[in-house]
């Protein structure tokens, strides 16, 4: 077929104009388009308009992200590596970028923890030397250290959780998994975070942290109650999954209520329906 024979409508030409400006028109079609536009004033106007509008779009320039964004990322990556127990490979510094904690409280808390632990060690050591260090005493020393460590972690965790930075709240949640056992205060803080944290990731991480404590009735009840409070589809689905895993039949009522929630996402709905069936079948 000879290309010069091919004619297109103005409608077709207008579509192709846009594609041509995007650089997504084949050279054959381009030739046909050019032939049309050259002799069509209407399409010439359309070409000018399309150019103007695309220029207009370019007036919305992307601002520079703040310099803190990068360090926040590496901060998070470091936590993820720790959680993963992945050894950080030796990466040349220019590739990793500057790693530092973005806010001071975390560093301050770590320093405080170290000083306190050192203090405990010195006192315990002094105390031990003043008596005869038998096995029993050594064990007591370890116990005291463990208790102090536990309290310190708990204190750090609770104060970090009360932080405006989502990254630090994530740190707090990950810290909670290092606690040997969680007392009521920690569980309460975690449940509050699960229900009211503005950041979905923090809520998801909190849910994961709470899984360790599902033997506690307080946690179970808290999780069931949380179903009604979640607005993130990710959290809703994770909660539904957990209910099935725990075979928590008491959650069926809350799950049914979730189904009636306004604007519930389709994927969530399907997942919740499945969960209800699985919980009712046994």
């Amino acid at each position: 077929m000879k290309m010069n024979d091919k004619h297109i409508s103005c409608e077709q030409a207008k579509e192709w104009l846009t594609d041509a400006l995007k650089g997504e028109l084949s050279s054959e079609d381009q030739t046909v388009l050019d032939a049309h536009v050259v002799q069509c004033p209407e399409c010439q106007r359309e070409l000018a308009l399309t150019r103007d509008v695309r220029n207009w779009l370019q007036t919305d320039e992307t601002p520079e992200p703040s310099s803190g964004m990068e360090s926040r990322f590496y901060n998070m990556l470091t936590i993820a590596e720790q959680e993963n127990n992945v050894q950080t490979p030796n990466v040349p510094p220019e590739q990793v970028g500057p790693f530092h904690f973005t806010r001071k409280p975390m560093v301050w808390m770590q320093v405080a923890a170290t000083i306190l632990l050192l203090g405990v060690g010195v006192i315990a050591g002094y105390w031990l030397r003043s008596r005869k260090a038998g096995d029993e005493l050594a064990q007591q020393k370890i116990d005291i250290m463990a208790v102090q460590m536990q309290e310190m972690r708990q204190m750090m965790m609770l104060s970090l959780l009360d932080n405006s930075s989502a990254v630090e709240r994530l740190q707090a949640v990950s810290l909670s998994t290092e606690l040997d056992k969680a007392d009521g205060k920690v569980i309460e803080a975690l449940l509050t975070t699960l229900n009211y944290d503005t950041n979905t990731n923090v809520r998801l991480a909190t849910l994961e942290a709470l899984i360790r404590y599902t033997d506690e009735p307080q946690v179970r009840e808290g999780l069931i109650a949380s179903l009604a409070l979640q607005d993130s589809p990710m959290v809703q689905m994770a909660l539904a999954d957990l209910m099935v895993k725990l075979q928590e039949k008491r959650s069926v009522k809350a799950l049914r209520q979730l189904l009636r929630q306004k604007g519930i996402r389709k994927t969530v709905k399907t997942k919740v329906e499945q969960s209800i069936i699985q919980l009712s079948s046994v």
């Binding site: 995007k22 601002p63 964004m69 989502a166």
Partner: protein
């Protein structure tokens, strides 16, 4: 790229270096809010780390990244709806309106403000295809892969969105 999956988090740093600006641009042009956009970039990378096993290695990494980013954006939009916060047109105007302005800059600011208002009036789907195409420089084919629809459907959607924007543009011209 498959190394991302294999427990080795080292490639995440490289991926961040390579894509964080692009992602920031996507969130920024969709939301108009630079601060929220930074948070969303962080969230997106957090999820990439967390769900790296869901990256099958089939298809482009970039598509997978955008699919994840869209979910992050959706969560953000829904959360904002709940807390009854509005799209950030005013914030935006205020931000670029600050500082000393030459006439030219003032005009540019006005245009940019009008553009944001126009984009905010489009449906989410139309705005998305425009942002992906015009700011993110994604091809029809790539957008189709991300949204999991045919290339033809994306072309049609893009043309409709463009036409809508043209109409608003002409109306603004008349009023000027």
């Amino acid at each position: 790229m498959l190394r991302v999956k294999e427990g080795d988090l080292y490639p995440m740093g490289l991926l961040f270096k390579r894509y964080h600006r692009e992602l920031f641009g996507f969130f920024y042009h969709m939301s108009g809010n630079p601060d929220a956009s930074e948070d969303m970039v962080q969230t997106a990378f957090y999820r990439m780390i967390k769900y790296r096993n869901s990256f099958t290695g089939h298809g482009a990494f970039r598509s997978w990244m955008y699919q994840l980013a869209r979910n992050v954006l959706l969560d953000h939009v829904e959360h904002n709806k709940r807390s009854a916060r509005q799209h950030n047109v005013e914030d935006y105007a205020e931000r670029i309106g600050g500082g000393t302005l030459a006439d030219e800059l003032l005009q540019k600011t006005e245009q940019a403000t009008q553009l944001r208002n126009a984009l905010a009036r489009l449906s989410e789907a139309h705005r998305e295809v425009l942002v992906m195409s015009e700011y993110q420089d994604l091809k029809y084919k790539e957008i189709a892969e991300i949204l999991n629809v045919t290339e033809g459907a994306i072309k049609t959607r893009y043309h409709r969105a463009m036409n809508e924007l043209k109409t608003i543009y002409l109306k603004n011209e008349d009023e000027r």
